[in-house]
Each structure stands twice: as structure tokens, then as C-alpha cells.
Amino acid sequence: MKPSRFQYTWIVLFLIIIGSSIHLGFNPLSIIEDTDNSLTIIQELLAFDFSVGDKVIFSLIETLEMALIGSSMGFVLSIPAALLAARNVSPFFISAIFRGILGILWSMPPLLWAILLVVIVGLGPTAGIFAIALYIMGLSGKYLYEIYESQNHSAYDAMHVIGATRMQIAKFVTIPEALPHMSNQYLFLLAYSVRESSILGLVGAGGIGFYIIHHLESLNYGKAAPFILGILAVTLGMDYISTKLRKRLVYH
């Protein structure tokens, strides 16, 4: 029997994966080949050294604060930026410019933004906050302008007939209609930012990641473990709270 187009697609995809693995010299068995070494690291990680407890608490608070400030800044900036990027609200050339800006902000991961910002503003959480804010502005902006553009056209038609200006349309139609999505989106982005903030310390942009990389590089796995455990607990906790709150928003 001749394979279908769908089956061909999967066969081609499978061959690309095999080809890429060969190209990179990737061996999936390597993770179990050096079993002794892996077991030693796991054992050392499990021997939690809680003498760093105060630093865990401090760095978790810092990470949460970075996420809160960064995601809030990015989210607030994304609201007008998305209005300027939405084709049903802005003139074509302005919309094209802002779509480009949001695309650039979104396509660079926060870690890359952090590397750049550490050079500009120096080591510490300020670079991390800006990195999160820029990325969230891009991500949230892209999502928001798609929401704006998919809104009920008849409300826009009614406003055009009334002779409303773009600002009046934004105030009376675009933003109010997007509000339920916005609250939902903000909570999701906040939880997401906590996860992202936890790794920005790897490049010196503040947060718990700094301590994790410091202890791992010093081969103090026992000291790294409480930080890893802390970030796991906070990330899962934030995800749980955010999901609960979002469900409540959907029903109200």
C-alpha cells in the first residue's frame, strides 16, 4: 500500500531527526554510559546542605520580585504597543513598525536579553528585570494584537459610523473587550516570568540562578540542591495559584 501524504510527512520528519543526531554526534545512550559519575552527582545532590537556607530564601524573594516587576512592566507596555500594532486600530505603516518591534522583542529569549543588558546596566537584578520586561512586552504584545484583531467587527463598524477617533475606539471597544483575556494573560505571564527569572542569574542578571551556577561550578552539589528544590517549589506553586486564579476569572 502506498503511504499517505500524512505518513510521508512523518517519515521525512523522522529522517531529519536521525540526520540531525548524526550531524551533532548525539548519542542518547551517553546518559547511562557513565553511570558511576551520574550516580555520584545524584547522591551529592540528594545530600541537601541546608546551611544555605537563608540565601535560598533571599534569592527566591529576589527572583519573585524580579518576575513581578519585569512581567508587570512588560505587560503594561505591551497594551499600547499592541494597540499600535493591531491592523484594525492603527494605520498600516504604524502597525507594520510595531509588529516588527514586538517581533524582535519576542524572538530574543530572556537569557540573551540578560547577557546584553548585563553589559549595559551591569550585574544584578536590574538587568534581569529589564530582560524579563522586554521579552514579556514582545510576547504579550503579539498575543494582545491578535486578540484585538479578532474582536467583534460590528462594534468597530458602529464606532466608525459614529465617527469615533482611533483613541475613542481603543478606549470604548478594543481595551474593554480584551480585559478578560488580559487578566488571564497577566497571571500566565507572571508564572512564566518566575521560571525565566530563575535562570537569569546564570549570566549575572540576578535571581536564584546565580547561586545554582556558583555551587554547581564549585562542585558543591549539596549546596546547589536546596536552591534547585526552592525554585521547583516556587515555580510549581506559582503555576498552581495562577491556574486557580485564571479558572476563577473565566467563570466570573
Binding site: 462594534a155 463598524d157 458602529a158 459610523v161 459614529i162 465617527g163 469615533a164 473587550e177 478578560p180
Partner: protein, 240 residues
């Protein structure tokens, strides 16, 4: 009586498809006209052309005795779109005030400091349409009939000389539609507003309009005085 709206040989062609095909229609001042026709006949497009939301490929349109559509004459038009075009997340009061945007300075609309005379007008309309008790309720919490009344109030506060309504009671059962249309017809007559509406229900068309136009494939096929309308007459017009 003079024609408020006169469309002559209007054509709209999109991707080589004739959406509106040599359409000619005249609507007299103070009259109520219904356009009926199957889905896809071009009824909504016809209203949008009259409102200036869509530019026709060719043809001539006269509105209030003048050719074309400028801002001044557009301000005399009110529009109730299909699905009503209300903003679900805003209150009844704010939705009504949205209709008055053209009658106030921009800064007032943005700050929400509405002029006193417009506030009086809004409350008077909400009273007439029996929605005063709902003024702070969000649109998403209203019934279909209540939403229709808000849409009517939002249109009337514009002080239009002509209202174009697109299947405004389509989502209501007959009894609810009649309840809304009774109030609307009374206010319309009192204020001398011309009405051009599209509708699917021949009974509503007969009860609330003077003339019914039948539109098929982007053109007006026939017109009939609503007094002379019977179900057989409508069916035969559709078949024509």
C-alpha cells in the same frame, strides 16, 4: 416626499465576483423600508455601502439630496449592525453614551466627563426604552431583548435622521422582537426618523415597514407595499 437615500446602478465586484449588481433603490423621507432576501444576497453589504463603510466599484449614491457621503451627512446616519455591535464588558450607560461621541469634545469622551445635556438625553432615552434600571449592568449580563433596547438607545442618542438596521431582532423570538419593535417604531415615528432595515421575518417586515424590497444575487428584484404583503406574495417574490 423627497428621497433621503438614492442609490443608482451600484456595483461591487470583489475578486471578479459580483457582490452588488446594478442595484437601484430609493428610500423616501420618514418611511420605513425593509430589505428581505436569502443569505448572501448582499443585504448587509448594501447597508455598509450606504454608510460609507464599503466603497462600491461603480454607481451613484445620493444622500439627503447631495451626491456622495461627507462627514456632515454621515453624522445624520445611525447604524444598528448585525450582532448589535455592543461592547460586552462595558455597562449599559457607557454603551449608550458611546453613541453620543460625535456630539462632545474628544477630551470629554476620554475622561468620561460627559456634558450635562447629553447625560440628560441618555437618561431620557434609557427611560423611554425601559432600561434605566440596567444602567450599571454589563452588556454580557443582559437578555437578547434588553441588548436590542441598548443598541436602539445608542443609535437614537446620535440624533440620526435615518437609521440603518441590519437584522436587529434576528436573535429574538417573535414575541420579544415585536415588543422591541413596538417601542422602536413609536420613537421612530415621533422623531420622524427614516428607517432602512434588513430582515428575514416577513411578519416583522409587514408590521413595521411601508415598503419591502426583495434582494437576490446583489440586486433588487422587486418591491411591494407592505399592506399588500401576504406569505404567498413573499414566496413568489423569492422565486422570481
Amino acid at each position: 416626499m423627497s428621497d433621503v437615500l438614492s442609490m443608482n446602478q451600484i456595483r461591487l465586484i470583489i475578486n471578479e465576483r459580483k457582490i452588488i449588481n446594478n442595484l437601484t433603490i430609493n428610500v423616501k423621507q420618514n418611511s420605513a423600508v425593509t430589505i428581505m432576501g436569502p443569505n448572501g444576497a448582499g443585504k448587509t453589504t448594501l447597508l455598509k455601502i450606504a454608510l460609507g463603510l464599503i466603497q462600491p466599484t461603480s454607481g451613484e449614491m445620493h444622500l439627503f439630496g447631495k451626491k456622495g457621503l461627507d462627514k456632515q451627512r454621515r453624522n445624520l446616519l445611525g447604524y444598528i449592525p448585525q450582532n448589535l455591535g455592543l461592547v460586552n464588558e462595558l455597562s449599559v450607560f457607557t454603551n449608550v453614551m458611546m453613541g453620543a461621541l460625535r456630539h462632545m469634545p474628544r477630551w470629554r469622551s476620554i475622561t468620561g466627563m460627559y456634558p450635562k445635556e447629553l447625560l440628560t438625553e441618555a437618561y431620557s432615552l434609557m427611560y423611554e426604552l425601559k432600561i434605566t434600571h440596567l444602567k450599571d449592568t454589563k452588556i454580557k449580563k443582559l437578555s437578547g431583548g434588553e441588548k436590542q433596547r441598548v443598541a436602539i438607545a445608542r443609535t437614537l442618542i446620535q440624533k440620526p435622521a435615518m437609521i440603518l438596521a441590519d437584522e436587529m431582532t434576528a436573535s429574538l423570538d417573535f414575541k420579544a422582537a415585536v415588543a422591541v419593535m413596538d417601542i422602536f417604531a413609536e420613537i421612530r415615528k415621533k422623531r420622524g426618523i427614516t428607517l432602512l432595515m434588513t430582515h428575514h421575518n416577513p411578519d416583522i417586515a409587514k408590521m413595521y415597514s411601508d415598503t419591502v424590497f426583495i434582494m437576490i444575487n446583489g440586486a433588487i428584484e422587486k418591491n411591494i407595499e407592505s399592506k399588500e404583503m401576504s406569505e404567498d406574495a413573499i414566496s413568489s417574490l423569492y422565486e422570481a
